[in-house]
C-alpha cells in the first residue's frame, strides 16, 4: 500500500518543545532528589535522555535520576501478535519508593503501553506519584482511561495512520512524521 507522509514536527519546533517540556518539569518539581525520570523502552528513553540534558543546561544543580524501563513481559498483547516482541534492557539502579516518577514515552496512542509500563514500574516499588510525559499525544482511539500530564504536541490522527518519531541520537535528525495510507 502506498503511503503519504507529512512532517508534523521539524527539528526547530522539536527543539522548542523539548525546551518547553523541560521548563514545565522544573516548574512543577523544584526538588530534583524526590523526582525521577523513567523512559519506556524502546523509544521513550531517547526523549528521557534529551530531557535530562535539557534540565541540566537550564539548571546545573538539577541532577535528576534517569532510568529505562522495558515493558515487554507486561504487555497484554503477548500471543496476540504474529511475532513475539524482543525485550530491551531495563536499567533502573535507583529507588522509586516514595518518589515522584515521570513516566516518559514518545507517542501516546491506545494507552496500552503506558498501562504495561505502570505494571512494570510497580515491580520496583511504590512511588508517591506518577506523571506521564509524551512527545506526541494522538488524540483519538484511546482504549484505556490514560491521559498525559505533559504533552509535546497533540495530533489528530486515526488508527490507519502511523506516527513515527525520529531522534537526532540514533536517526540523525529530530522530526515527527505522520504516515497516511494513500486513497486509491
Amino acid at each position: 500500500m502506498k503511503k503519504n507522509q507529512r512532517v508534523i514536527l521539524d527539528s526547530v519546533h522539536f527543539d522548542l518543545i523539548i525546551k518547553r517540556l523541560a521548563h514545565q518539569l522544573i516548574e512543577n518539581h523544584s526538588d530534583s532528589t524526590s523526582t525521577v525520570l523513567l523512559g519506556l523502552q524502546p523509544r521513550g528513553i531517547y526523549l528521557a535522555e534529551r530531557l535530562k540534558e535539557e534540565l541540566l543546561s537550564i539548571n546545573k544543580k538539577f541532577k535528576i535520576e534517569l532510568g529505562a524501563l522495558d515493558i515487554t513481559f507486561y504487555r497484554d498483547d503477548f500471543r496476540r501478535r504474529d511475532h513475539p516482541l524482543i525485550p530491551s534492557e531495563t536499567n533502573l539502579d535507583f529507588i522509586i519508593e516514595d518518589k515522584t516518577v515521570i513516566l516518559i514515552d514518545d507517542v501516546l496512542f491506545t494507552g496500552r503501553s503506558i498501562r504495561a509500563g505502570l505494571d512494570a514500574m510497580l515491580a520496583f516499588g511504590r512511588p508517591k506519584r506518577v506523571e506521564l510525559l509524551v512527545l506526541v499525544n494522538r488524540r483519538y482511539e484511546r482504549q484505556l482511561p490514560i491521559q498525559a500530564k505533559y504533552i509535546g504536541k497533540n495530533v489528530h490522527s486515526v488508527s490507519s495512520e502511523r506516527v513515527k518519531v525520529s531522534w537526532k541520537q540514533i536517526d540523525g535528525e529530530d522530526k515527527v512524521i505522520l504516515y497516511t495510507p494513500a486513497n486509491e
Partner: protein, 308 residues
C-alpha cells in the same frame, strides 16, 4: 529473528544457532527480572502448564516450577510414583487425560529416550523435554551454555571437557550438540567403558587422562556416576574411579590455568569432585542453578509465543 524455528523443545539437536542465541538473549532479560524486588511478570497468566515427572528430580522440577510461577502460569504437577501409571496406564492415556483438563504446555521427564518426541507427535500441546532417559536434557545444556558465556564472554573457540559417565548422560549429549553448534571445542574424558562407542562420529575427541584433559580445557563439566542406570559393572570400584577421574583441590591447583568447574547436579561429593572443589571460587555450580530458572523462563516464554 525473534521467533524459535521449532514448536517444541525436544532436544538441542532440533535447534539452530539462532534459536539458541534467542533463548540466551531472552534469558538474560529474565535473569534481570528474577533479581528484582518483585520477581513475577504476567506474560503467561492465561496458560496452564503440566509438569509430568515420570522420573525423580529435585532441581529441574523446582526450577521449572519456579520459572512457570514467575511467568504467572497456572501449573499442575504430576509425579509417577503417586499416580495411576503404577496401575498400568499408558503414557498417551495419562497425558491425554491431563490434556483434556485444558493444559497448554507439558514439561516432561521420562526414563525412556524419545518419549518427548513421541508425545509431540500425538498430543496437541507444546512439549518441553526435561530429560528423556540417556537421550537429551536441552534446558540443562542451555543453562550450562548460558553460564559459560556469563563467565567467559562467549562459547566460540572455548575448550570444554565433559568428564565422567558419558554413556548414561543426557546432559553430555545435549551439551555436545549445543557447544558444537555455538562453535566451542568439546572433548570427553572418562573410563572407556563409560564412553559411548560412536562418540567420535559426533566430532568429539576422547581423552582418558584427566590431568591432560583439564590442562587443555577452559571449562570442565563434571558428571555424576549414574549408578541407577548401570545394569552391569563398568569399573571395578567407586574408589578406583575417584582415584583416576575424581577432581580434588590438589589436582585443580596443579593446572596451568584457572579453569571453571561446572556440575549439573546432584553432586556426589567425594566421588567425581571433592567438597573443596565444589565450593571453591572456580566452581559456578550454584550460578548454574540460578541461571536455570532464567533459561527455563526464556524457553517457556518463547514457546508460549508459538501457541495459536
Amino acid at each position: 529473528m525473534n521467533k524459535l524455528s521449532v514448536n517444541h523443545l525436544l532436544g538441542i539437536k532440533y535447534l539452530n544457532k539462532q534459536d539458541i542465541e534467542l533463548i540466551f538473549e531472552t534469558a538474560s532479560h529474565f535473569k534481570n527480572v528474577i533479581n528484582r524486588p518483585i520477581k513475577k511478570v504476567p506474560s503467561l497468566r492465561d496458560l496452564t502448564i503440566a509438569n509430568l515427572f515420570f522420573e525423580n528430580s529435585t532441581r529441574t522440577k523446582l526450577s521449572f516450577e519456579l520459572a512457570e510461577k514467575r511467568l504467572s502460569a497456572d501449573i499442575v504437577n504430576f509425579a509417577s510414583s503417586s499416580s495411576s501409571v503404577t496401575k498400568g496406564e499408558t503414557l498417551i492415556d495419562t497425558v491425554n487425560n491431563i490434556l483434556s483438563m485444558k493444559v497448554d504446555m507439558v514439561v516432561m521427564r521420562h526414563p525412556n529416550p524419545g518419549t518427548a518426541y513421541f508425545l509431540s507427535q500425538h498430543v496437541n500441546a507444546k512439549i518441553i523435554n526435561a530429560g528423556d532417559g540417556a537421550h537429551e536434557h536441552p534446558t540443562q545444556a542451555l543453562l550450562d551454555g548460558f553460564s559459560i558465556i556469563e563467565k567467559h564472554g562467549s562459547l566460540k573457540g572455548k575448550n570444554i571437557v565433559i568428564v565422567g559417565d558419558i554413556l548414561h548422560s543426557r546432559v553430555a549429549l545435549s551439551n555436545i550438540f549445543l557447544l558444537q553448534k555455538m562453535g566451542a571445542n568439546v572433548k570427553v574424558c572418562g573410563p572407556l567403558t563409560l564412553i559411548p562407542k560412536y562418540i567420535t562420529s559426533l566430532g568429539v575427541e576422547v581423552i582418558t587422562d584427566l590431568k591432560k584433559a583439564l590442562n587443555w580445557c577452559d571449562v570442565a563439566i563434571m558428571l555424576r556416576i549414574q549408578l541407577e542406570r548401570q545394569d552391569i559393572k563398568y569399573f571395578p570400584s567407586l574408589r578406583e574411579y575417584t582415584m583416576l577421574y575424581g577432581l580434588d583441590k590438589q589436582l585443580l591447583d596443579s593446572l596451568k590455568k584457572k579453569i571453571t568447574i561446572m556440575h549439573p547436579g546432584p553432586i556426589n561429593r567425594g566421588v567425581e569432585i571433592t567438597s573443596d572443589v565444589a565450593d571453591s571460587k572456580q566452581s559456578v555450580i550454584l550460578e548454574q542453578v540460578e541461571n536455570g530458572v532464567a533459561v527455563r523462563m526464556a524457553a517457556l516464554y518463547l514457546l508460549a509465543g508459538k501457541i495459536d
